[in-house]
Amino acid sequence: MDLQETIKALKLPLNVKNDLFAELSPLQLSDDEIDEILETTKKVYERSRVEPCEAVGTIAAQSIGEPGTQMTMRTFHYAGVADINVTLGLPRLIEIVDARKVPDTPMMTIYLDVESATDRDKALQLAWEIEGTHVSDIADILADTDEMQIYLEFDDRALQQRKVDLDAVVTKLETLQDVDVRVDGSNIVLIPSVKRYRALLQIVEKAKAMVVKGIDDIKRVVVRKEREEYVLYTEGSSLKKVMVLEHIDATRTKTNNINEMAEVFGIEAARNSIIEEAMDTLREQGLTVDVRHIMLVADMMTLDGEVKQIGRHGIAGEKTSVLSRAAFEVTVNHLLDAAIRGETDELVGVTENVIVGQPILLGTGDVRLIARTGRE
């Protein structure tokens, strides 16, 4: 029989099958040898299975929590990827399990489609297109309080570099209210209709923050060559706006904001994103933690179709057991609420049974054997 077919027919997980095929196909092996390898593989697999009643949750929590003590606290680190600041170490891990709406340092990784991936110029062009350029990036803004005017002195080099058209800037500036825009060579003069000091300063601030090109949330874009292709890394994140651009490989482009991933790509993507981000954080610290533990955390967080926090406002706070919730945080409130709602604690979890003083229903406590006395 064909090797692939044989392997496919085995009762093994997919990753083992793939490993087997990759390992065996280049080797010249006799049928007996293949049989032997497959038999041993099956035996090893069976031996390595998890045992029923194993408290995998606790093990996962310990496996992630224990290395936490060894992690650094330093928030900022010039990350391995380009020179973009990224939160790392323990703060990042906490951020992930907290499921924060916006991470401390949002970041995107943008891949390009097949035709543009190897084209440096296209990558650079895209980078300029994405990077949010504010008026203050390309011009010096001076407020003249005598004349009640604002002078914008444009930096030609910056204009050229960022491929910004002065006319576009003018049209943008014209959207400002109560302001007359006059072009004076390479400079622009803004004349407010209201001659008041405060109004003048307000307009300066407004003008500074105006986005003339690119995406507002993205502060910086760095182009890097990775293996054969160019990849864009951004400081700041705005998946929705980037996804619609041309020449972008939407299948691989991602952000480190888990909630944004959930919103744009759906809950499964968020789950994978949690796994990936957590693994990266741990790996960067030189700590090895099995993926299965992190998968469990990710599955727990995304179980109900939305990203839920590990903690009071998420999983721990939504437990069905009153005693378990009371033992975690805000004890008294949980008890009072339980009283008026007439809640019942079914005593199925770990904490509840510890509290009432009986064996927990996990591991050896979940096995109930009845010894048969006397022989038939």
Partner: protein, 885 residues
């Protein structure tokens, strides 16, 4: 043992005043506790019917003794209703959503019906109905007139914590209670209350239950004075005010005074329930300490829930300082005799063991393997004394229980806090020893994260056969060699074990037969000695590798790259020039030097290999190897001799000069950078300000300088190239036993830049770090660069900067421990109920979280560093078999 009853479930609910009275054993009317003779006053707060706390007395309600009597509730009839603070917010919601006259929920029948339907739908699916209740209240508040009695509704203002104002009229708790009484039963469910068991008016107290005395025991001080519990104090206050209120009302006091007293009563009841309500000044003890009332007893880390109910205290435990003993097995723990004499194991007397047990009893409690107590069939416990021993031994009967002292071979649990993972509590076998410390094999330090600088550890003696079986099968040290975190060994050699074997397995080591026997004397070796590696002048010598092979299990085959492998181009394998290719063939170390990669904790490939090769006896083989390795390593490091001194950091004067020069040049370049910055010639890097650019460049320059200095120092000390095996620091760093190149650099080369938050040191005086420098000085030395080495010694300014950098590290650790501790607590709380079911799914209760655990059903502990099956290894072994015929 009888099987105890299991609590099926616990229902929560509100009690009605009627029920309070029904379960009460007495009405409490006097605020006094004891009379002049010290007897409790009837119908007082210490009424003997409320339970007993004094030993010797019997409870007047249940006739049990102190300790057996659980205590009984009494009650206080409140002169006027008061609000229960815990329900203040819910009371507000209900007030706003119901009619002020007829009590109906302010929604018409159709709306009610719709909400109710939705609610039931959610309840059937076991979802939260909070959202619906919120909407009900929101909708109800919108109606200005009652759809049932057409009463005009008024806005109700809520003033924290227990004041409700309607139309600038204060609503008295009695009024609120009246309104709530009118709410029809049918509307209760929509308000989010349990319709079958709860009436809203019960949230306003008319009767206050008095907790039994057993929950508020008074203590007698040395001078005979009684000191009452905080709760009793509070109850006294309540009763006093309650009485005054009643008297005043009966005497027809003016409304103003009545209201004041009412509010005072409300205050006392509020603080009795919760003394930390915002807006209420906490009730204080005479000394000024806030009272610990009901809520405070439940709350927080040391509260009832987390402190007493989730964390239980145990007997049969011991704690003392730990110290190392490499002659113990990893599975053993050395227990001081003094502790062994105190701790006991209950043994049931049977015809088989009666003789042995009699011996223990005869020896009495003072001679070590003795016995301390016996328990007779009628349940009486008898203490064994030196004198009574012989007598008791005579009368010993089957079925009695002898509490025998701890002896060699008993299984005990050993633990070091913080217990961060399951390897923090492991089962060991007892080895009773002299002196006063617990002794353990240093190879088990990594999982406990223990060292011997004064650490203490706890020991627990399991008391039932089931517990001992579980401990032995699941918790013994050898069962925990592999970590579930990453599927590799977490137990392994540390420090001297690694250095010792590293020195032993160097090329060119040779030992005579006698020396070999001396080295292996303590090891448990079955293999016969092989042919000697070299014969010189008629004397046969064995190589260190041969000696090491003696302790390797015979079936072990392994290849790996040692730590010092430099990964140059193509691997020469067995011909490796620096002997970094470790090959073990059938239990013989063919080539390569043993170091951290082979036997270290967290990475030991040999242990991993043994466990995978010996599928049935892997753990025993592995622990046997560990025991042997620790003994061999200690013996060999003793024969070589190993010490560390300041002269290990001596570099030649010439190297010293080179280092000086490198740093000098680096400082010059830094000067040039600053110059360029000051005259405005420095180009800023993309996305960085000029300042940041300068700082980054300086940091780079100085970092490079330190590394170069370290390189020179390293070369001079024999770190690179030909290893200086006579330099302990080098041996430790190269073998991975302790320390690193960086430590060597700092000791012999230059300490380098000190930093705070990843930046050069900036803080201190205005525009400068110390008054020793000019304002605005950006130079290396003014911003925390330490050019001296630790050996040479630091200048005063350098020392100061070093202390700044060191302080940051300390703060970091302090903050980190609390943060990661909380993270772990949250993770455990969220995941602890997950379990693999018999069908392979992972579930929490009845919710399926994963259909196959980890997508492949593999236990990470048994996985090969995360891989489910190492196909490559299997294929290679089959191929090898073919090649070998």
């Amino acid at each position: 043992m009888s099987s105890p009853k299991r609590i099926g479930k616990i229902k929560f609910g509100l009690l009605s005043p009627k029920e309070y009275r029904k379960m009460s054993v007495t009405k409490v009317i006097t605020a006094d506790t004891y009379d002049d003779d010290g007897f409790p006053i009837e119908m007082g707060l210490m009424d003997p019917r409320l339970g007993v706390i004094d030993p010797g007395l019997r409870c007047k309600t249940c006739a049990q003794r102190a300790g057996e009597c659980p205590g009984h509730f009494g009650h206080i009839e409140l002169a006027a209703p008061v609000i229960h603070v815990g329900f203040a917010k819910i009371i507000r919601k209900i007030l706003r959503a119901t009619c002020r006259r007829c009590g109906h929920l302010l929604l018409d029948e159709i709306q009610k019906h719709e909400f109710l339907l939705k609610m039931h739908e959610l309840k059937d699916k076991n979802y939260s109905t909070d959202e619906i209740v919120k909407n009900v209240i929101k909708e109800a508040r919108k109606s200005t007139t009652c759809p049932y009695c057409a009463e005009q509704q008024k806005e109700i203002k809520y003033e924290k914590p227990t004041r409700y104002v309607e139309d600038s009229h204060k609503l008295m708790p009695a009024d609120i209670r009246d309104r709530f009484e009118r709410i029809p039963d049918g509307d209760i469910e929509l308000l989010g209350l349990d319709a079958t068991n709860v009436r809203p008016e019960w949230m306003i107290l008319t009767v206050l239950p008095v907790p039994p005395v057993t929950t508020r025991p008074s203590i007698t001080l040395e001078n005979g004075q009684r000191s009452e519990d905080d709760l009793t104090h509070k109850l006294v206050d309540i009763i006093r005010i309650n009485q005054r209120f009643q008297e005043n009302r009966e005497a027809g006091a003016p409304q103003l005074i009545i209201e004041d007293l009412w509010e005072l009563l409300q205050y006392h009841v509020t603080t009795f329930l919760d003394n930390e309500v915002s807006g209420v000044p906490p009730a204080r003890h005479r000394s000024g300490r806030p009272l610990k009332t009901l809520s405070q007893r439940l709350k927080g880390k040391d509260g009832r829930f987390r402190g007493s109910l989730s964390g239980k205290r145990v007997n049969f435990s011991a704690r003392t300082v730990i110290s190392p003993d490499p002659n113990l097995s990893v599975n053993e723990v050395g227990v001081p005799e003094t502790i062994a004499r105190e701790m006991t194991v209950p043994i049931i007397v049977t015809p088989r063991n009666v003789g042995e047990l009699k011996e223990y009893i005869e020896r009495g409690p003072l001679n070590h393997p003795g016995a301390n107590y016996i328990k007779r069939l009628d349940g009486r416990r008898v203490k064994i004394t030196e004198k009574s021993g012989a007598e008791i031994a005579e009368t010993l009967e089957n079925g009695w229980v002898v509490e025998r002292q701890l002896k060699d071979g008993d299984i005990v649990l050993f633990n070091r806090q913080p217990s961060l993972h399951r390897m923090s509590i492991m089962a060991h076998r007892v080895k009773v020893m002299p002196f006063k410390t617990f002794r353990l094999n240093p190879a088990v330090c990594p999982p406990y994260n223990a060292d011997f600088d004064g650490d203490e550890m706890n020991l627990h003696v399991p008391q039932t056969e089931e517990a001992r079986a579980e401990a032995r099968i699941l918790m013994q040290v050898e069962e925990n060699i592999l970590s579930p975190r990453f599927g590799g060994p977490i137990i392994g050699g540390i420090h001297d074990h690694i250095s010792g074997l590293f020195l032993l397995t160097q090329k060119g080591t040779k030992f005579t037969k006698n020396e070999v026997y001396e080295l292996l004397k303590k090891c448990d070796v079955e293999k016969p000695l092989p042919e000697p590696a070299v014969v010189e002048g008629g004397v046969s010598y064995y190589s260190g590798k041969q000696v090491f092979s003696q302790i390797l299990p015979e079936r072990l085959n392994l290849t790996l790259k040692a730590k010092k492998c430099v990964m140059h181009g193509v691997c020469l394998k067995t011909d490796c020039e620096i002997d970094a290719y470790v090959k073990i063939d059938a239990g013989n170390l063919i080539c390569g030097i043993i170091d951290e990669k082979s036997i270290g904790a967290f990475s030991g490939a040999i242990l991993d290999g043994i466990i995978r090769e010996y599928t049935d006896t892997g753990f025993q083989e592995a622990s046997r190897f560990l025991d042997n390795a620790t003994k061999l390593a200690i013996r060999s490091i003793m024969t070589f001799g190993f010490s560390f001194g300041i002269d290990d950091e001596d570099v030649s004067p010439q190297a010293q000069l080179e280092i000086e020069e490198i740093i000098e040049k680096a400082e010059e370049r830094v000067g040039a950078l600053i110059n360029a910055y000051e005259v405005g010639e420095l180009e800023s890097m993309p996305g960085r300000t000029l300042n940041e650019t300068l700082e980054m460049k300086i940091m780079q320059e100085l970092g490079r300088a330190r590394d170069k200095a370290g390189e020179i120092a390293g070369k001079n000390l024999g770190f690179a190239g030909e290893l200086a095996l006579d330099n302990s620091a080098v041996v430790m760093a190269v073998s991975g036993a302790r320390g690193s190149m960086l430590n060597l650099t700092q000791m012999a080369g230059s300490v380098g830049q000190q930093s705070v938050r990843g930046e050069r040191i900036r803080r201190g005086y205005y525009d400068r770090t110390l008054p020793h420098f000019r304002k605005g000085d950006l130079g290396a030395d003014a911003r925390g660069f330490v050019r001296s080495s630790y050996k040479k010694g630091l200048t005063p300014t350098e020392f100061f900067f070093h202390a700044i950098g060191g302080r940051e590290g300390l703060v970091d650790t302090a903050v980190r421990t609390s943060q990661s501790g909380y993270l772990q607590r949250r993770l455990i709380n969220a995941l602890q109920d997950l379990e693999v079911e018999y069908d392979g799914t992972v579930r929490a209760g009845d919710k399926v979280v994963q259909f196959v655990y980890g997508e492949d059903g593999i236990d990470p502990t048994k996985s090969d560093y995360g891989k489910s099956v190492n196909v490559h290894r299997i294929a290679q072994s089959v191929i090898e078999k073919r090649e070998n015929g």
